[in-house]
């Protein structure tokens, strides 16, 4: 099949590409021509995309697909569809499923389910068996089966001793260790420790629980010369430590979730469990430092920490409800609205953080927009005004605090794996 994207802008800072109002021809999923006024013959599908910018397909490296184990919350397929609708052609899925993703068998079942999806699923397998922090997972086997990183996400790798071995062993594969930074002995709180936790009478989660582990991991990464990636950074001090570590050449990268660069702990005052996440929403000064970290490159990526939960579970009393919100279908809109339109980041910087950097961190080739390449594109309408309507989500879950939020900018379509999603429909191309 042949399609032509007409009058589209092309932007890929990775290949220093920046074209305005050009035509892009794709035949059977492969980019076959990029030029002005490509002639259309009869059996071609034409999309007039004046004002739309095509960028290398976006990538979210922190997604919880919940399969296997909690298919009532999300499945591989529903998660992929949600990702495509949100503008992502690639996602990294976290291993905290039941059973844990720590074997070739579980990996192959997920890969099988994702195999005919538009969005590619890359697996981040457990660093330790069953994420218990006791025994190394079978990393040779897991890497051979496609694991792009290791993480015990949901918790930090339990002890310095096992972390040392995880880093030493994983170094053989040059894959990063992705750390959920939370000191176990300080965990169990449900809102950031401070005046809000006191006012609400909820168990406090101290910010030092995060940056104690960031500090530990920086030092261990230096000691072992291993790559470490800080997941969902939320604290001012954490950002400062990552910045300093980068300056002295430690192989460290970091990601942030939209809720941590937009929202602060004052949102908790209504006990709304859709603002309950781990790490929790922090203070205003933390949000401000995260913004600085995004601007100066301390924070490499934006990742949703897409965490589907059932309504039933989210309706439990605040201290009992599970942590996390879904994010795939609001991430691009929130990022464009809050970072681009508020002139915090340029569009190039946003593409780096939402597409290029996550792939570079995970050693995944960055899609190129050029003749002969597989078309792996996200179509962004930077100025589109829209309102978040949770009932339209493709995710199986609805635990999002953003329902009714008016945003400017969104992904309007994606192309990958010889499939296209646009106008709310998937089709083969």
């Amino acid at each position: 099949m042949k399609i032509i994207l007409k009058n589209i802008d092309l932007l890929n800072p990775y290949q220093k590409l920046n074209n305005k109002k050009i035509d892009l021809e794709i035949i059977d999923g492969i980019i076959t021509e990029i030029s002005k006024n490509i002639k259309a013959d009869e059996d071609v599908k034409i999309f007039d995309l004046d004002g739309v910018v095509a960028v290398p397909g976006l990538f979210d490296m922190h997604v919880h697909l919940r399969e296997p184990g909690r298919e009532d919350k999300e499945t591989v397929v529903s998660g992929c569809r949600s990702a495509a609708r949100g503008g992502f052609t690639g996602i990294g899925c976290m291993p905290n499923t039941t059973p844990t993703i720590d074997s070739a068998e579980v990996m192959s079942s997920i890969k099988q389910k994702a195999s005919d999806q538009l969005t590619n699923v890359y697996i981040i397998a457990a660093a330790t068996k069953n994420r218990k922090g006791e025994l190394l997972s079978s990393m040779f086997e897991l890497v051979e089966n496609g694991s792009v990183a290791f993480s015990d996400d949901g918790v930090a790798i339990k002890s310095a001793a096992i972390l040392k071995r995880v880093m030493e062993y994983s170094k053989m594969f040059d894959v990063p260790i992705i750390e959920h930074c939370e000191d176990e002995s300080l965990s169990g709180g449900v809102v950031n420790e401070g005046i809000i936790s006191t006012q609400l009478g909820l168990k406090p989660a101290p910010s030092i629980a995060e940056y104690l582990i960031i500090m530990r991991d920086i030092l261990m990464a230096e000691y072992t010369n291993c790559k470490v990636h800080i997941a969902h950074i939320s604290t001012k001090k954490g950002v400062q430590m990552v910045r300093d570590a980068k300056k002295i050449g430690i192989k460290i990268t970091a990601e942030v979730a939209p809720h941590h660069f937009i929202l602060d702990e004052t949102k908790l005052l209504t006990y709304d469990t859709n603002f309950k996440m781990n790490p929790p929403l922090r203070e205003k000064e933390d949000v401000e430092e995260i913004i600085r970290g995004l601007q100066d490159g301390t924070i490499d990526c934006i990742a949703s920490d897409h965490a589907p939960h059932t309504i039933e579970e989210k309706n439990l009393p605040f201290d009992q409800a599970p942590n996390g919100i879904i994010g795939l279908e609001t991430e691009v809109g929130l990022t464009l609205n809050e970072l681009y339109h508020k002139q915090i980041l340029s569009l190039e910087q946003i593409i780096e953080k939402l597409s290029i950097n996550p792939r570079l961190i995970l050693n995944i080739p960055v899609p190129q927009i050029k003749k002969g390449e597989l078309a792996n594109l996200t179509l962004l309408d930077i100025n589109k005004s829209w309102t978040v309507n949770i009932s339209e989500f493709f995710s199986k879950s609805v635990n999002s605090p953003y329902g009714g939020t008016k945003l400017k900018g969104n992904a309007i379509g994606v192309i990958n794996n010889k499939k296209m999603f646009i106008n709310n429909k998937f089709f083969n191309i």
Partner: protein, 327 residues
């Protein structure tokens, strides 16, 4: 007319009756004292005084809540608060439904929303709720049509306790404004401490906290409260101590090294009162660990007003029930 004292229309105190029916609260529910305006607190205190006066001279039931159904939902153990509410409701002629369960249906997997729907289906006018999870009373106001009164939620607030403490202080010392009130003990896990803080501050008192640093929440000084780690100094510099119960099982060896050390350094004794401030007024929400936070002599001594608090609790709860039922 479903106003307070409507059974007393022919009583010899018509002024009292007129006085009460003119008062109404801004608040629709009583979830916490943090956002209750000063006028509301003053109305509650004034009404409580009238109720107390009535029951000091009469056993006659009032009809303020006649025809109203009140559910007391206690999802956590409570004796004092539950019985106080129940008696207040009955003295105001309400129909009362009691539900006590430390292992609520929630632990059987029912969501709290389902529980709320079940309560709702019973067409209840007011709900008095105690729950171990902070935020449950607030949550109820969003999903229920009933008037909600918080009888204590987690470590959040216990507003009727705060009000009865304030009432008792005012009764004994004649004012709140300008008084120095120190709350002593485990501030971090206390719902009483916060309700006292908000209510007392609203009325112009200077509130401070005293206890081991492990039991003082981080950044609480941002609420404008002074912190003491020295009980002698706290006794010396304050007009009132509101002494909280120490959770012995949970805290000994954890938040402080031992009961012995707590008692030696934070326990209030006759000697300490004598040495530092013989006029100090001592409140305690009960139940007391005798010989821990208060020595037995202090617990029964002249500075304490613990049983007055219990009596006043009844009057304050009647005032709240009556006033809220009119909104």
């Amino acid at each position: 007319m479903s106003s307070a004292f409507s059974c007393l229309t022919n009583s010899p105190t018509p002024q009292l009756f007129l006085y009460l029916i003119q008062m109404s609260l801004h608040i629709k529910h009583l979830i916490g004292l943090q956002n209750v305006p000063k006028e509301d607190i003053e109305i509650i205190l004034k009404s409580a005084k009238k109720f107390k006066e009535h029951f000091q001279t009469s056993k006659e039931k009032l009809t303020d809540l006649s025809g109203k159904t009140i559910a007391n939902f206690f999802f956590e153990d409570s004796t004092r608060t539950r019985t106080s509410f129940e008696l207040a409701e009955k003295r105001l002629s309400a129909d009362v439904l009691n539900f006590s369960s430390s292992s609520s249906s929630l632990s059987k997997g029912e969501s709290f929303k389902d529980t709320v729907k079940n309560i709702e289906a019973m067409n209840i006018d007011m709900i008095v709720v105690r729950h171990s999870s902070a935020g449950i009373p607030y949550y109820l106001t969003k999903y229920s049509q009933s008037i909600i009164i918080n009888a204590g939620d987690g470590a959040h607030e216990h507003p009727t306790q705060g009000l009865l403490d304030i009432y008792t202080i005012k009764e004994k010392l004649g004012r709140i404004k300008g008084l120095n009130v120190c709350i002593v003990g485990d501030i971090a896990h206390s719902r009483v401490a916060l309700s006292n803080l908000w209510g007392l501050k609203t009325l112009g008192a200077n509130v401070s906290f005293c206890g081991p640093s492990t039991m003082i929440p981080r950044n609480i000084e941002k609420f404008g409260a002074k912190i003491y780690n020295n009980i002698d100094k706290a006794i010396e510099e304050n007009d009132v101590l509101n002494v909280l119960r120490i959770q012995l099982e949970r805290d000994a060896g954890n938040n402080f090294p031992s009961i012995r050390e707590y008692t030696n350094y934070f326990g209030i004794t006759e000697q300490r009162i004598k040495d530092n401030n013989e006029n100090i007024l001592i409140l305690h929400p009960g139940p007391i660990n005798r010989g821990v936070e208060l020595s037995p002599e202090v617990a029964d001594g002249n500075n304490q007003v613990i049983l007055d608090q219990v009596t006043n609790g009844l009057a304050v709860r009647m005032a709240i029930l009556s006033l809220l039922s009119k909104t």
